[in-house]
Structure formats: structure tokens, C-alpha cells
């Protein structure tokens, strides 16, 4: 269906290096609730880049990094000072600063368009497809120039984060605590801003300045959904970033063929794949995912219905009226949907707590034992509420109805002790023995 060439490998390498470098610093942005600062800086470096181009006339110079890092710090600094001096809300201050800087950058680029090979689209969208045409050999290793650049930034980020691991961690979670421990939280803030700016510049060639923010934020936010440990979050987000780069390029050269076109932009597909990862994590994360929350809730409600059914069967046996019960009776007594009762009955039969006879369902021995504990909890609670809380008999029943599902053995004994050696509940029904 398609042929993978060395060319494609190099594109993936450039994309993966860029995405991983972004994800490393992105974790701290997300953690500090400063994600939009990534957006602001990635827009705002445009004038820095444009000025550096106009100055040097080339794309590959340290001046470019200096210009971008300076503008990155300026963005953070301007935002802070407008926020402090003008009492403008922080996100609005950020909006004022980065849109203005971006506008200035656009004008500069338009002015420079005659002399320099640079246009706004290239900065916005990147040109990852062109990167393998410019190979550089260094220490006997031939890699695309963009891979060298983003690779060095990746190493730089990794080194600084390892070096300042404790400082970054504490000042991200609790700047006040960091200050009391002698860590300069302001310095860490601006160090992070410089890293974001440098990373943005290093990666704009690969993914474009706007899609840098996708790599800064999306893998980090996805990892936050999957884990709570900072170190795990960072490792997972870096892996996700690399996977987005690979799958992004793969889908960029395969998916469009389905509708009859050769390929599309890799950078756009990288962001889309990262977004897809996020969506999957949002829905299916093990603990905080939407699906797992729904399942937990469903499971809990099924357990409650099952326990209610056991209770009904036990009460019937107790009254000696009808040893076996059938479906309409359950539906009438519990008042929940038939679908839930069916599921609950199936669940009880699976764990051999009830059996099905011709005339209906009946408790097994182990089912009877469990039902007895539930009934004991229920009636103990009723007595307790009656004796110690003086509530009406109506509220006694409904409170006990809720509490019986969450009462364990030790609580039951504590209750029994609290109400003395009563053998009957307020309605005069026997409290089952332990």
C-alpha cells in the first residue's frame, strides 16, 4: 500500500526529537496551569525569529536562538508587568502581549520577504517534509540538520530537568514551600520560560510554531490522566510524544490515499494523533477515564440491586409465605428497571448465591448467609437510629436501606454493642444472629 523509505525514517526522527523535547517541558507547564503560556510564547517568538533572520540572513545561527529566548522571557516579563502594573487579569494580559508580538512579527516578516527566504506559513506550519534534504555529518553520524537541532534541545531539556529536578518539582507544586526551602521560585519560573522558548524555536522548523503547542500540552495532559506521579507523567508523555510523531507521519502518508490523495502535512497529523491519544485516555484511562467511572458506577448500582434482591428473598423465607420468588415480584419490590434486575439476577446466579427453580428463584446456603448479614446490618441500623437518634420510623427505614450496603462486619458488631443486646428491631422483627 505504501513504501517506507529512509526519507520517512528521517522525518519520524526529526518529529520524535521535537515532540519529546516539547513534552519534557510541557509537563511542567500543564502542572503549573500555565499551558496557555506555551501558546503565548510559541506565537510570540515570531518577531524574535524575524528579527534574527533580518539580522543574519540565514536560518541556522545561534542568533536565532538568542532572539527567541529573549522574546520568550520578554513575553513572560511583559505579561507579569501588565498584570501587576495595570491590574489586568493574567490571561488577558497574556493575550494582549502575544497577539501584539505576533502582529509585529507578521509585519517584520512581510518586510523581510524580499531579502530572506522566509514566510509566515513556514513558521506557522513548519516544513518537516523538507528536513531530510539537508543532512549534516557530525562525529561520523549523518542526520538531518533539524534532527541535530531538536536532538540537542532534547538533551538540553533532559539535562536541566534532571539537574534541577527537585527545584522544578517543588516550585511547580508549591511555590511558597519552595521559597521557604531556599529555592528561587522566580528563577525557576523564568528558566522554564527560557526552555519553552528555546524548545519552540528548535521545533518550529519541524512542526511549526502553532503545532509546537500541541506537542507541549497534549501529551503532557494525556499523561496526567494516566498517572499521578510526576516522574511517571514525564516518562509517559515523552513516550506518547514519540508515538505521535511515528503514527502521525504514518497516517499522513497512508490515510489520504483512502480518499484518493497522495499525502498530507505530517505536522498536522502529529497533532491530530496526539489529540486522538488524549481522547482515548479521556474515555478509557484506568482510574479517571469516563468509561471506567461509568463502569464503577454501574457496578456499584448493580451490587446494590443484587443485595436488595437477596434481602427480599430472605424476608420472604422469614415470613414463610413463599419460598420462591419470581421476576414481577422483584420488579415491584425494588422499583428499578427490569434490565437492571435481569443483570443483577444473572450476577447472583453466577456467584451461586441464588438458584433458579421452576417456580422462581431461591437462596442457596451461601446466598442465605450473605442475605442474613445484609438484613442484620439493616435491622441493627434501624434499632440504632431509633434508640440513639430518635428519628421517625420512615427515615429509619430509608437511612438503614442506604447504610446496609456499606456496613462491614466490624461496624455491625460495634452497632450491636451500641444498642445493647436487643434481639428485635423497632418493628418487632428479629435481628438475625451473627
Amino acid at each position: 500500500m505504501f513504501d517506507w523509505r529512509m526519507f520517512d525514517t528521517w522525518i519520524v526522527v526529526v518529529g520524535a526529537f521535537s515532540a519529546m523535547a516539547c513534552a519534557l517541558v510541557g509537563c511542567f507547564l500543564v502542572m503549573r496551569r500555565m499551558s496557555m503560556m506555551g501558546d503565548a510564547i510559541s506565537h510570540a517568538v515570531l518577531p524574535g525569529l524575524a528579527a534574527a533572520y533580518m539580522f543574519t540572513g540565514s536560518r541556522e545561527s545561534g542568533v536565532m536562538f538568542l532572539g527567541a529566548a529573549a522574546v520568550g522571557v520578554l513575553t513572560a516579563l511583559f505579561t507579569q508587568s501588565i498584570h501587576r502594573w495595570g491590574k489586568v487579569e493574567e490571561s488577558a494580559a497574556m493575550g494582549v502581549v502575544f497577539t501584539t508580538l505576533f502582529a509585529i512579527g507578521l509585519i517584520l516578516i512581510r518586510q523581510a520577504a524580499d531579502h530572506v527566504d522566509l514566510d509566515a506559513e513556514c513558521v506557522l506550519q513548519g516544513a518537516i517534509e523538507m528536513t531530510p534534504t539537508d543532512m549534516r555529518t557530525f562525529l561520523g553520524l549523518a542526520l538531518p540538520r533539524a534532527a541535530w537541532v531538536s536532538g540537542s534541545v532534547l538533551v538540553l531539556n533532559l539535562g536541566l530537568i534532571t539537574l534541577f529536578w527537585k527545584e522544578f518539582k517543588i516550585s511547580s507544586f508549591d511555590p511558597a514551600l519552595a521559597t521557604t526551602q531556599g529555592i528561587n521560585a522566580t528563577f525557576m519560573h523564568y528558566l522554564l520560560m527560557v526552555l519553552v522558548a528555546v524548545t519552540t524555536v528548535a521545533c518550529f522548523e519541524a512542526v511549526g510554531s502553532i503545532l509546537v503547542i500541541a506537542m507541549l500540552i497534549v501529551p503532557a495532559a494525556t499523561a496526567c490522566l494516566l498517572s499521578e506521579r510526576l516522574s511517571t507523567v514525564i516518562v509517559v508523555s515523552v513516550l506518547l510524544a514519540a508515538a505521535s510523531a511515528f503514527l502521525g507521519h504514518l497516517s499522513a502518508i497512508t490515510l489520504p490515499r483512502l480518499v484518493g490523495f497522495s499525502d498530507t502535512t505530517t505536522a498536522g497529523m502529529m497533532a491530530s494523533v496526539a489529540g486522538a491519544f488524549f481522547l482515548v485516555a479521556l474515555l478509557a484511562a484506568p482510574r479517571h477515564g469516563v468509561i471506567s467511572k461509568l463502569l464503577t458506577r454501574l457496578n456499584l448500582s448493580l451490587r446494590i440491586v443484587s443485595e436488595d434482591l437477596l434481602g427480599i428473598l430472605y424476608r420472604l423465607e422469614e415470613e414463610g409465605k413463599m419460598p420462591h420468588a419470581d421476576f414481577p415480584l422483584f420488579a415491584h419490590a425494588t422499583g428499578v428497571s427490569t434490565w437492571r434486575i435481569r443483570r443483577a439476577l444473572a450476577r447472583l446466579r453466577r456467584s451461586r448465591l441464588i438458584v433458579r427453580h421452576q417456580s422462581g428463584f431461591a437462596l442457596t446456603d451461601s446466598g442465605r448467609e450473605q442475605a442474613r448479614q445484609i438484613l442484620r446490618s439493616h435491622r441493627l441500623w434501624e434499632s440504632y437510629i431509633d434508640r440513639l437518634l430518635n428519628a421517625s420510623s420512615h427515615s429509619q427505614h430509608f437511612t438503614a436501606e442506604r447504610l446496609e450496603h456499606v456496613t462491614d462486619a466490624s461496624t455491625r458488631e460495634a452497632l450491636a454493642k451500641a444498642i445493647g443486646l436487643a434481639a428485635q428491631d423497632p418493628q418487632g422483627k428479629d435481628i438475625p444472629e451473627n
Partner: protein, 442 residues
Amino acid sequence: MPTLDDLLRLLTLRDYNTRVVLLGTMLLGWACGMIGSFLLLRKRSLMGDAISHATLPGIAGAFMLMVAFGGSGKSLPGLLLGALLAGLLGMVSVVAIRGLSRIKEDAALGIVLSVYFGIGMALLGIVQKYDTGSAAGLQAFIYGKTASMLDSDAWLIGITAAAVALLCAMLLKEFTLLCFDQAFAGAQGWPVRRLDLLLMGMVVVVTVIGLQAVGLILIIALLIIPPAAARFWTHRLWRMVIISAAIGAGSSLIGAAASALLPRLPAGALIVCVAAAFFLASMIFGPCGGILVRLLQQTRLHRKVARQHLLRGLYEVWESRGRQGPPEADWHTMLAMRSWKAGRLHRLLRQARRRGHLTMPAPLTYRLTERGLAEARRLVHNHRLWEIYLITHADMAASRVDRDADKLEHVLEPEVVAQLERELARQHPHLATPHSPHPLES
């Protein structure tokens, strides 16, 4: 460079096209300024950012659909409809991510912004491969090309903006309450959620119609900068809305006109730069929290406090001499009184002499005049009142009182002083002129 003739043509609005385009852009700026005010007050400024980026896949998708059904793909209403749908979807996505997970608002905005933009880029990458080659016009949406707008486009933008502005004016009361006390609005039985959605919907609409004039990335500036600037001119909401709308309209007009004269410069960027200039001027010169006004107030307060310290110090020196002889002190005594530098004390003394509070009977000796003595007596009186009040009512240790009294006496209202005096006179009738409760430093 534009010739004088070009400038005249523009200023006299001789071209029908120029007239319509300028009017449309101005109305757009007006509507953005109005809606932006509410966004700013609800601390949702960056929502516009996410929405504007999120429109890209809608534009590209609409283009592809229109081409697939045999159209040219460049019909403006069709593209705007696509952008509108994608923008709304983006807005809903932000709300859903925030509601369904632990992800905070800022990250939710960033995710929607970048992922939608990425999808849009990927779709555009396919569009560019179309044989028809008509995709070039789509770039105008990203950077804005006011000058090349058609009359019909400008009419569409102008009419929609006017409608949004009108609706916003009609709902002014509702939106005001939504911004300041959402809980109260809810308790009054107002449909808070629907109002909020309506506001966001209007943001999407102005963002979408503004795409062509200002461009996808910079339209957000028109939503943020004018209201942020307007806050420096008033504290009343309806005035802020009007000022913000006026700044928006003004910067759009100036920016679009400048772009018509200098076609090499992108209109969106010019509009934003003009708006930023308005913001900077407002932040410096605005009467409500502007930097100059605040500096002036601060300097005035500092000067007043220092003057009062000087007079009181002189009086206390005289008091420690048992009020014998003229109320005067020499330079060194006064320099030792407080931790002020020689230069500052020198300036203070000069100011006090200009005000007629001090005279200099001999070199480096300063004497209170009749007026200065009266003022110093009043200050010391106030100061002592506070000291006693703090000791008797606030249980402060006598040694700590002086500092607090220092700070409070400068903000005392005459009415408060009168009340305190009555209170103290009732408790301590003998304290007609209170004495210092702690030993004076000399």
C-alpha cells in the same frame, strides 16, 4: 510608498469598495469590543483564542465538501458556516474536557486549540493537492486580507457585526449580572447556562466573521485588547463596553485604512498594532488605575507622610525640652530622628519652608512658624489619640504602638478623629491634650 493622491482618495472615501470595507471592518471592531468586555470580566479572554484556532478544520472541511458537491469551494457563506460549526464544536470540547476529567481550563483550551488547528492543517494539506488550484484563497483566512475583500463579503461582515452588537446592547443587563454575580442571577431564576452559551455563541460568530478581515490568529486580539484598554478609563460596565467598542472600531478603521494605503502590510497585524498602541496609551494615561495616575497618588501620599513625620519630629524635640524656648532643632538632631537620608531630609525641609511651616533663623537651624506649630500640634494630637486608643481598645503593647499609630494617623478622617476624641474624653476626662504614653526618643 503611497502618493498624496492615494491618501486623498482614501480619506475622502472616493471608492465605493473602500467605503464598504472600512465600514464593515469598523462594525466588526465595534462588535468585538462589546463582546470582549464580557469575556474579560468573566475571565474567559483566551476562550476566543481556542475558538478562533478551532475554526480551521471547519473552513477546510467546508471547502472540501463544497468541491465534492461540485461547487467552487470558495463561497464565503459556506466557509463561514463550516467555521461556525467547528468553532462551536471547539467550545463544547473545552467545556466537556473540563467537566469530564481533572484537566484544568488552561490545558483544555490548549488541547482544543492545537489539536483542532492540527486537524485543520492536515485537511489543508489535502486541499492543496486539489487539481483546481483554488485553495490559495483559504490562506486569507489565516492572516486576513482586508484589502482584497469583496463588497458582498464586507456587507455580510458589517450586517452580522451590527446584529451582534445590537443583541449585546439589548442583553446588557443580563450579561452584567452574569459577569458580576452568576449565583445571584441563577437564584433570581435567570437561565444562566443559556445566557453563558449565548455569550460564547456570539464570540464564535464574531470570531468567524472576523476571520477574513483580521485573520484566524489575530482576531482574538480584537476580543482582548480593546476591553483591557477600556478598563483604564472607567469603572462602570456600560461605559467600559462603549469605550471598548469605540477602541475596537477605531483600531479596525485605522488599521484597515493603513493597510489599504500600504498593501504590503497585512491588515490584521496593523489593526492589532493600532489596538496595542491604544492599550499602551490607556495603561499609562488612563485615569482608573493607569500607571501615571497611580504613581502620582503614591508620590503624593509619600510626600504627605514624610511632611507629617518632619513636623511631628520637630514638635517632639521641642516637647522633650519642656517646651522651653522657640520650637526649633538643628540639622543633626533632625537627621538622627528617623532613618532618612540627608538629601531627602534636605528636600523635605525646603518644601516645608516653601509651605511656610518652617523658617531658618540661623544656618542649619529650623524653627516652626506659627502655622507650622499649629499643624504640628494637630498631628501630634492625632497621633497620641491613636496611641491611647490602640492601647485601651486593641490591647497593644505600649512599645509597639508607635509604628502602628504612625501608619494610621495619615489616613484618619476628621470625622473619625472627632468620634475618637469624644470616646476618649468620656473615658478619660482629664486627657484634654493627651501626653505621650511612651518615652520620647530624643
